[in-house]
Amino acid sequence: MKTTGWNLKRNVTFQLFVLPALIGYLIFYIYPLVQTFIYSFTNYSLYHLDMEWIGIDNYTRLFKDDSVIIGIKNTVIYALLITLLQNGLAIPLAIALNRPLKSRNGLRLVFFAPAVLSPLVVGFLWSYLMSSTDYGLINQALRAIGLNDVNWLGNPKLALYSILLTQVWQWTGYAMVIYLANLQGISKDYYEAASIDGAKAWTVFRQITLPLLLPSISFNTVMGMIGGLKVFDVIFAMTGGGPGHSTETIVMTLINKGITESQFGYGSSFAVVFSLLIMIVAFIQLKVLKKWEERLF
């Protein structure tokens, strides 16, 4: 193909535009990712600084490792629940706020606000609120109405859900705001037509609103799942993974094994499994959403 000098210069410049991003991305993202993959087949640790190839031994060890299984279980439960709750609450809220309410902007301001707070501080704050001491606000309130104290963060069966609660508080507004914007972009004509036809509210929701919310549902649920799977700050702040191992999440276990216990190889195999998990989850979600989209349109 003949290229003039000018065209060549253009082509080169275009490619150069990509270069800074690409180089940095390769160094700080791809390279560590590849190394993770490689380490996962070695016994690299502080005891084996000259690492040796051990094949899939790390992976077989993973399946027998209770803390790994707990970490994955906790994280998946957490991610599913946060996505469900956050969106399950945000959609009705958005629909409600879509009404011509006088205080809509103020309401939106308030509901969204927790999202700009650091999850770490949110974790600390709620630790105080949920504490079992005499200054724990929630238990104080329960006592005031005659109920018993709840061991929010000390009960291994409850702790994860207590943390979940704080995150629903923190992030529902975020999702709501996105749904609200989506809703406001929907033409009123649809609803007018529906009301003329005498359609019931639930039918309107299912046939009109929900399908048209698909873009924001996709966005929010995918973000919700990925965010849920990599949760760290708030759990770190509230329980550090305890009591026992009941609130340990994947990222936390990864740090424990890979950095605290300096088992770089073993930790990396866990990391590989983690990334597979995310890719599978994302893949399933996108497939489901696509199918839904095809069914509706």
């Binding site: 380490y39 600084l49 690492m51 061991n151 191992h245 740090i255 216990e261």
Partner: protein, 432 residues
């Protein structure tokens, strides 16, 4: 174009493999030790000495003041890191070739990776009793000097005890009865910050010290456990089952799992609870919170009547970062620490006995009088210091976490010990 891509991709893979196999990541960038502080230096060399520890600064106050007086030309910096994150933070520092000069404690992984300075030939090492040095020796090399011994027992509120006609218990059953009496009098018997993995772990081991270690079969156990020839499930089970009675009797309750160390300290200091397991480091803080507090400490009792045992041993220690920027200054600090004067300063804020030869340890402060018998009989011990290469926090941390699950009713005592054995096995395997 495609071919170029493949070349690039394979180059990338190659370099990834090569650099990973180079394995000297922890040492690059630090191959140039600072030679400016020569051993021929006199005390006028300026240097910064960074100490990192998991005991709060207020427990090192007198000692640090003394250091600064002794070395006015040094900038002595102390960094406190909570025990939960301590190993993480220090490992990170050491792996990066940077970091503090003096570290509180040793870990066998740090020794294996060559991060800690070999102190065997340092002149000050020989000034210590063997019992103090043994726990910090691996493969015949010494990696740290012991600070004052630490110990943990049961603090009790003397006034509350007197009001209820109680005295420190001589046996575990007596201790349980004591709890009942207090409860019936409307006082919370025991405070415990079970959110931390340490409290229950130490208390249960305390009973094991009484019931297992004082017997002949207990003598060699730790060595055998270190090499994998013995398990906790066999050795500690009956002692742990005995200790478990305290949970069955609801002296320790699940809600304590949400209580932090500082909160439990507070409960005890303000008289809300009559007992609290802790050590000398809490003494000053307790009195600060409540200057009128009359307290004493008794050892953890066992099934049989006796003087009880304190959980404790050669305290924490100072080790030196092999890649320390100011190694000479750090070694000088260690040298000075190995003097009676410095040991006294350490003990002042956080009572313990010194392992330095020639230091008079006979004076036990009044608040520990109830534990005197245990001291006299040498009933102060921690098993995990003598687990050889398994020494370190990983296993006891797992034990503590398992006990948390047990307190919550999720695991049985048998499972607790079995899972801890499993962890030990895992660590042993990873070292091969």
């Amino acid at each position: 174009m495609k071919k170029a891509l493949r070349v690039v991709a394979s180059l990338l893979l190659c370099s990834a493999i090569l650099s990973a196999c180079g394995g000297n990541g922890n040492n690059t960038g630090s191959e140039s030790p600072a030679p400016t502080n020569n051993s021929a230096s006199n005390n006028t060399e300026e240097a910064t000495v960074k100490i990192i520890g998991f005991n709060k600064e207020e427990t090192r106050k007198s000692y640090l003041e003394l250091l600064r007086q002794q070395f006015p030309n040094y900038d002595i910096q102390f960094q406190f890191v909570d025990n939960k994150q301590f190993k993480n933070v220090v490992t990170t520092y050491l792996a990066s070739g940077e970091g503090p000069d003096i570290i509180e404690g040793t870990e066998s992984s740090w020794i294996a990776a060559g991060y800690l300075e070999d102190l065997t030939n340092q002149p000050f090492v020989s000034r210590y009793y063997d019992t103090g040095i043994k726990g910090f020796t691996q493969n015949g090399k010494v990696y740290a000097i012991p600070l004052q011994s630490w110990f943990e027992g049961i603090w009790y509120n003397k006034e509350i005890f007197a009001q209820n006609n109680l005295t420190p218990p001589k046996s575990f059953d007596e201790w349980m009865e004591l709890h009942d009496t207090l409860r019936n009098a409307g006082v919370k018997p025991q405070a415990m910050g079970a959110k931390s993995w340490e409290s229950m772990m130490k208390q249960s081991i305390g009973v094991a010290l009484n019931d297992f270690y004082s017997k002949p079969e207990g003598k060699d156990f730790d060595g055998k456990f270190g090499t994998g020839e013995a398990t906790l499930s066999e050795a500690w089970l009956s002692a742990f089952k005995k200790w478990d009675e305290t949970i069955a009797k609801k002296n320790l309750t699940p809600d304590m799992l949400g209580v932090e160390y500082d909160q439990a300290l507070d409960e005890f200091a303000t008289g809300k609870a009559a007992m609290w397991e802790s050590g000398p480091w809490a003494y000053e803080t307790l009195l600060q919170k409540n200057p009128n507090l009359k307290l004493g400490m008794f050892p953890i009792p066992g099934s049989a009547e006796g003087s009880g045992w304190l959980v404790g041993g050669p305290g924490s220690s100072w080790s030196v970062n092999k890649n320390a920027k100011n190694k000479d200054a750090a070694l000088k600090v260690l040298d000075f620490t190995s003097t009676p004067e410095a040991q006294a300063a350490l003990i002042k804020d956080n009572f313990g006995t010194s392992f330095l030869e020639g230091v008079d340890n006979s004076g036990i402060p009044e608040q520990y009088a109830d534990s005197k018998a245990a001291f006299d009989e040498g009933h102060v011990y921690v098993p995990w210091g003598n687990w050889g290469t398994l020494a370190g926090n990983d296993i006891i941390m797992e034990l503590g976490k398992q006990l948390q699950d047990h307190l919550a009713g999720v695991k049985s005592i048998e499972e607790v010990l079995k899972n801890t054995d499993k962890k030990a096995e895992e660590i042993r395997n990873s070292m091969k």
